[in-house]
């Protein structure tokens, strides 16, 4: 009897379909036209069934949604033309947390050790909030044109922040207060990714210069572009359980895969309609399911670890960002 009660209580409690929340940011669509009313809906889309179905969340109007990330407890952060938006109820209601000084926000990264701290990479530099978006402050990079494509908080030490700029990779050791160039200079950095297993391993994708890897937390960098015939890399995704498997999203070459930690890359774009891949996502719970977001070609999905691709949704859409919780 006792056991039965327990069982019932437990059985009734499980939330439905909360395994892995995928969030897609559709910046625009080739089908989009200015000043017409029947445009395709863009912005934030969420899937809880591995991409079988996607549900739009919140703002339907085109506000240039670049990247969106679900945090915990229904909190969603979104990087947009209008600024950084935050929802506390899973995307039903949104608030623009930033004022007029912050615009063209391309990427955000939440401090994994403190959910109220978020960094934003924008066309005008790096900004930070430490109070869940109530106030924002610029963290000057010291560059004349501080355009930042990406920002990353080191999960093993959240005072270490990396900024991807047009002049190279910058690093802060004091949570954004001061910045110094890393050894990776005179490169236009597009994306920076941390190995999910070994935090000291970092990957960087560049405009025209391929892929670089650091195995010492960003101090030294080695080119890892063998086999990469398209050297502009917008996206890098590391297999969640096997960090020697990586995917790269390139301009012109679609997706490349390496199975030996970047020793050799092989193009793997079979079925991919548009070879401009701006974002990639490997499902944590189904690592053979990989998503590639293209610019003007929509979202593609592979269910065989990236060997073959099929259009999943958002035909002709510009899929700027993908994230998973």
């Amino acid at each position: 009897m006792f056991i039965m009660l327990t069982v019932l209580a437990v059985a009734g409690a499980e939330a439905v379909g909360q395994t892995e929340t995928l969030v897609m940011s559709v910046l625009s669509s080739r089908k989009h036209r200015l000043n017409v009313s029947d445009n395709p809906v863009v912005g934030v889309f969420v899937s809880t069934d591995g991409g079988e179905t996607w549900e739009h969340r919140g703002w339907k109007e085109y506000i240039r949604t670049f990247y969106t990330e679900a945090a915990s407890d229904g909190v969603i952060w979104s990087a947009c033309g209008n600024g950084v938006l935050r929802s506390d109820d899973g995307g039903k209601h949104w608030r623009i947390t930033t004022g007029w000084r912050i615009t063209e926000v391309l990427k955000i990264d939440c401090d994994p050790s403190d959910p109220s701290t978020v960094y934003a990479a924008t066309a005008y530099g790096i900004f930070k909030t430490a109070d869940s978006g109530e106030t924002w402050e610029e963290k000057p990079l010291g560059l004349k044109l501080p355009f930042a494509s990406d920002v990353l908080v080191d999960r093993s030490d959240s005072r270490r922040i990396f900024a991807a700029t047009e002049e190279g990779l910058l690093m802060s050791r004091d949570a954004g207060e001061t910045w110094a160039p890393t050894a990776l200079q005179a490169k236009q950095i597009r994306v920076i990714v941390q190995d999910p297993v070994r935090p000291e391993v970092l990957w960087v994708g560049t405009e025209n210069d391929g892929v670089f890897r650091s195995s010492d937390g960003g101090r030294t960098w080695m080119q890892r572009s063998a086999g990469l015939r398209h050297q502009t890399v917008y996206a890098i995704a590391v297999h969640p359980n096997n960090p020697s498997i990586l995917y790269a999203g390139t301009h012109g070459g679609g997706v490349y895969i390496t199975v030996n930690g970047g020793e050799r890359w092989t193009r793997s774009s079979k079925g991919l309609g548009i070879p401009v891949v701006h974002c990639l996502l490997v499902m944590k719970t189904r690592p053979n399911v990989v998503f590639a977001g293209t610019l003007n070609g929509g979202l593609y999905r592979s269910t065989d670890g990236g060997r073959t691709w099929k259009l999943n949704s958002q035909d002709q859409g510009q899929i700027w960002g993908l994230s998973t919780q």
Binding site: A13, E14, V197, T285
Partner: protein, 330 residues
């Protein structure tokens, strides 16, 4: 009352996950089958799934249903423990939100689950080994299909090719090459095989533990097997575990064995059993981040831990517990 405490336990779990889930310290999960302090009808110590960070030492947190006889557990890797299963007499308990909420996914037809195996490449695929056979689900346990009949104590999915599975059964060691749909006996036809484990880097190398017949090794995916006898004084092995970074190091444990260790990939063995109150070892797991750290679950004396590759051991909590299974995941 019961309901409320379950909810509180759930909240606590959720707090723990958010506090600890994001560091690089892995999480140790154990399933507790019973405790020697158990008295039917009394206010008993909890059983079921417990977890901790290694830095918490002897502190364990309970999660999910209390007072279930948890024979086995499984944790999907790489998602901060969000997806977990506890196998019990009641059926298979599942959480998909890090322990906040749980559900029993099996009905009355499935009981006495001894093993849970997950496909690392797709969390939808779940296999369970029970006293009555092997069941397969492709929807995280919502629906099940029986694919093998017979007593099964261990099922594993090939780490390199998820269409291949191995099962330790009472009629020998079986293999499937079609995602568990059909099964064929391998070259190991000894009755009552208990455990099988795969080399972390070489998919064709396997080690199997048996009831009364010691340890066997295969280097060709199960086609042929060789008995390993060097250094072994015991006959029943419930658990074998490779060091994931250095697979020349292997640990094994079973009935009255304490812990055996091999430093040549399982060819020869040495017993290292200082410090155990009870030397029946039902499960061994190696910390994937700090491979010097090894956990051993006893049948009645809780969890032991070594920080020197199995040389010395000390109790780290859950006194009196019969530990079904230990899993360490990031």
């Amino acid at each position: 009352m019961v309901i409320r405490s379950v909810i509180i336990a759930g909240l606590l779990t959720c707090l723990m996950v958010s506090l600890y889930g994001q560091t690089d310290e892995p999480t140790v999960y154990v399933s507790v089958f019973s405790t020697k302090l158990f008295v039917v009808g009394a206010a008993n110590p909890q059983t079921g799934m417990f977890f901790q960070k290694p830095s918490e030492d002897t502190v364990w947190h309970h999660t999910g249903a209390k007072n279930i006889r948890a024979n086995a557990l499984a944790v999907f890797p790489g998602v901060n423990g969000r997806i977990r299963y506890t196998a019990s007499g009641n059926g298979l308990h599942r959480t998909r939100d890090g322990g906040r909420s749980w559900k029993i996914t099996t009905g009355w037809r499935i009981t006495e689950i001894w093993a849970v195996a997950l496909d690392r490449t797709d969390s939808m695929n779940v296999f369970i080994g029970t006293a009555y056979g092997i069941y397969k689900s492709t929807d995280m346990g919502d629906t099940w299909k029986q694919v093998f009949t017979g007593f099964v104590s261990c099922v594993i999915v090939d780490r390199f090719d998820p269409s291949i599975l191995y099962a330790a059964t009472e009629i020998g060691l079986y293999k499937s090459t079609d995602r568990g749909e059909t099964w064929k006996r391998t070259g190991l036809s000894i009755d009552r095989t208990r455990t099988v484990t795969q080399h972390p880097k070489d998919p064709l190398t396997l080690l199997a533990g048996t009831e009364n017949h010691g340890i066997y090794a295969s280097s060709n995916g199960g086609k042929t097997w060789e008995k390993r006898e060097a250094g072994i004084d015991h006959a029943t092995f419930y658990t074998i575990a490779y060091d994931p970074r250095d697979p020349s190091i292997v640990y094994a444990g079973g009935y009255a064995t304490g812990v055996y260790r091999s430093t040549d990939g399982g060819t020869s063995w040495k017993r290292t059993c200082q410090g155990f109150e009870i030397e029946h070892i039902h499960s061994i797991a190696v910390d994937p981040v700090h491979p010097n750290r090894v956990y051993a679950g006893t049948m009645g004396a809780g969890v032991y831990r070594s920080d020197d590759k199995g040389e010395t051991w000390r109790a780290v909590g859950l006194p009196g517990a019969q530990v079904g299974r230990i899993v360490i995941e990031r």
